[in-house]
């Protein structure tokens, strides 16, 4: 699935300090019935975002016009639980291109990169700093620089570097995916498959 290349992203951010946000919150199971990848953004955080009668919950951050942007800043252990890639699709489809947290669940992290979202892991201290900066000024901008592997609070210049392996970085900056890579080594895979005992 093609996605937009990721290089440098400057944007205000949406804060969600809750910890252990699981993928059932990001997109509840009853919205997983589609057979195509479209429209998932409408149901992002469905049960936190809407009342039973489908009216928006005023106190939920996505319904608060004070906050907007292409970066979601989230509390520790974001994306735990189910492997549903629909969670990453919903985040992408809603318009986020980057999630910043102090800790990501493994499968969510892999799914994010595979759909073109950059998961940026920062220290708990820097995460607190970002939350404080957004609270002080909801329009404050972050710069996420993938080539330099840094995330910066533009107002103060506070910055932290983040880790990503060179291979994944290369994919994200060029819009490539793993399947392109693997299809290019089919002969090697075929030879290996011959050696398997089952």
């Amino acid at each position: 699935m093609a996605y937009d290349k990721f290089t440098i992203l400057r944007s205000s951010a949406v804060p969600m300090p809750n910890e252990n946000v699981d993928t059932d919150q990001i997109i509840p199971a009853r919205f997983l019935k589609a057979t195509e990848r479209k429209g998932f953004g409408d149901n992002l955080f469905r049960d936190w975002r809407y009342n039973n009668d489908n009216t928006p919950k005023a106190d939920f951050v996505l319904n608060d016009p004070t906050y907007s942007g292409k970066i979601l800043v989230a509390g520790k252990n974001f994306g735990s639980g189910s492997s549903r890639e629909h969670a990453a699709w919903a985040i992408y489809d809603y318009g986020f291109r980057c999630v910043v947290s102090s800790f990501f669940a493994d499968i969510f992290q892999a799914n994010s990169i595979n759909v073109g979202i950059l998961p940026v892991r920062v220290s708990p201290e820097f995460l607190e700093k970002i939350f404080a900066a957004i609270e002080a000024d909801p329009n404050t901008e972050l710069e996420v620089n993938l080539p330099a592997q840094t995330v910066t609070l533009l107002a103060t210049g506070d910055s932290e570097s983040f880790a990503i392996n060179e291979y994944k970085k290369h994919n994200l900056t060029n819009g490539y995916d793993d399947i392109d890579y693997l299809l290019s080594m089919k002969e090697e895979i075929g030879a290996f498959a011959e050696t398997r005992p089952f």
Binding site: Q25, G81, K168
Partner: protein
């Protein structure tokens, strides 16, 4: 003398085709399970890039997540669910993949039918677009859940690209107490490590508690390994494993079996091999467990009180929000809490031993009037065992009915939804907000604790209801 290796290293290293510089390993996948919810978009992607399924005989399809558990002989009423099931059938047919759809004699939950038909074997790499793929680690396989992009990847190339995770060993020695089931062992471990305590790790379970466990118990333990954040868990294959596998329909036979046995017996952690983290617990500390919060790490002994927020390691605000959702207060006792629903089933506890345990408590008793019970076998084979062993009669006499196989109320994609605000004692694996239906409140527990709640109508210590009590 070569470097000592862990069980995980041995299986992982045997599957690495290439190590990408500054990147992940290219890992060959022996078995791939697919189901109706996370595969349709993968097939669309495959078609979109003009690729095909490289090894259709290494992939197995079953319908489970989104299937009704009543009247499976009738057309599926929900058009979107029916569409997903049709897509799975169509894709399986197009690419020549074995498909056990709704109504098929072997249909059931993917992590139940894989092992019971002998598809899962020691030393394999196994993936599925479902996080509870970790279940298959019970056989000494490396098994983990993947996203839909990765499903497409495995269909197209039979490989996946993953960085090698860190290694953790969890050892539990001692003898579990009365009414302590494998579910209690794993709920206890998760309560000690937290819902994110094993993120970035692959777990090996060791010690006499796991050595003495049946294969079904080991599956329950490995199944919930994902709930502490680990990608998967595994247990070294032993005689128990081989006894389970021998003679299963798709297990290797004859000469092929004989050739594999020495290899399988070599799949154990070498003396002197090291882990990034080693945790040890004592079985004597484990009593029947129950969760009180909205992640599987928030659990305790069924006779205990709900911990005070200030005694919980970090996340006090999230902890209080969690209790608020559940309608619970700090320091309350779990025993006697009202229950509305009981769910026995899922890839965690939907096997025959789980139904035997449940039946052992409800035998000669009656379902409490305030309880709605959903008893859902993990597969048609389990359903048949329930009938043949006389368990169905016990359940029926106690006022319960048996439904048809599927994931059911574990994730509530079908009609089996717990209403908002209601409490469910559930043998499934997740107690997240809304997991069993919007606003539903889930208490995770073993089949014995679920049975005790089903006959008393409240949270109850099963030990008081057991023979020799």
């Amino acid at each position: 003398m070569s470097t000592p290796k862990t069980l995980f290293d041995k299986v992982w290293d045997a599957h690495v085709i290439r190590q990408v510089k500054d990147g992940p390993d290219v890992l060959f996948i022996d078995r791939h399970f697919i189901h109706e919810v996370t595969s349709p978009v993968a097939f669309l992607g495959l078609e979109g890039r003009g690729a095909t399924v490289l090894y259709p005989d290494r992939t197995f399809a079953t319908a489970d997540h989104n299937t009704p558990t009543l009247n499976q002989h009738l057309p599926v009423a929900d058009p979107m669910s029916a569409n997903q099931l049709a897509a799975l059938e169509r894709n399986a047919k197009t690419y020549g993949i074995s498909h056990w759809g709704l109504g098929h004699i072997k249909n059931g939950i993917v992590h139940v039918v894989g092992p019971e038909n002998g598809i899962t074997l020691p030393g394999m790499t196994i993936v599925c677009g479902d996080s509870h793929t970790s279940t298959h680690g019970a056989f000494g396989a490396i098994a983990f859940g993947i996203g839909t992009s990765e499903v497409e990847m495995v269909l197209a190339t039979q490989c996946i690209m993953q960085p090698k995770p860190k290694k953790m060993r969890i050892t539990v020695n001692g003898k579990p107490g009365k009414a302590v089931l494998p579910k209690d062992v794993i709920l206890y471990i998760i309560s000690q490590t937290s819902a994110s305590g094993a993120t970035g790790y692959f777990v090996e379970y060791a010690g006499e508690v796991f050595e003495n466990m049946t294969m079904e118990g080991r599956m329950t333990v490995c199944n919930m390994t994902i709930e502490m954040g680990a990608r998967g868990g595994m247990i070294a294959p032993d005689q128990t494993t081989l006894d389970y596998l021998k003679g299963r329909e798709l297990s290797p036979k004859g000469e092929q079996w004989d050739k594999l046995v020495p290899y399988w017996e070599s799949l154990k952690t070498d003396e002197g091999a090291t882990f990034d983290l080693d945790l040890t617990f004592d079985a004597a500390d484990i009593e029947p467990q129950i969760t009180y919060g909205t992640n599987p790490g928030l659990g305790t002994g069924v006779t205990h009180q709900i911990p005070m927020a200030d005694s919980v390691k970090d996340g006090s605000a999230s902890y209080k929000k969690s209790l608020q959702y559940m309608g619970f207060q700090e320091n309350e006792t779990m025993i006697g809490k009202p229950v509305d629903f009981v769910f026995l089933g899922s890839c965690t506890n939907g096997r025959i031993e789980d139904f035997r345990a449940f039946a052992s408590i409800v035998k000669g008793r009656k379902k409490a009037d305030n309880i709605t019970a959903w008893l859902v076998p993990g597969s048609h084979i389990v359903e048949k065992q329930i009938q043949e062993e006389g368990i169905l009669d016990i359940l029926t006499q106690a006022g319960f009915e048996l439904r048809q196989p599927g994931c059911s109320a574990c994730l509530a994609m079908n009609d089996d939804k717990v209403p908002a605000g209601k409490y469910a004692v559930s043998t499934s694996n997740r107690n997240f907000e809304g997991r069993q239906g919007p606003g539903a409140r889930t208490l995770l527990a073993s089949p014995l604790v679920a049975a005790a709640a089903a006959v008393t109508g409240v949270v109850t210590d099963p030990r008081g209801l057991m023979e020799n009590a």
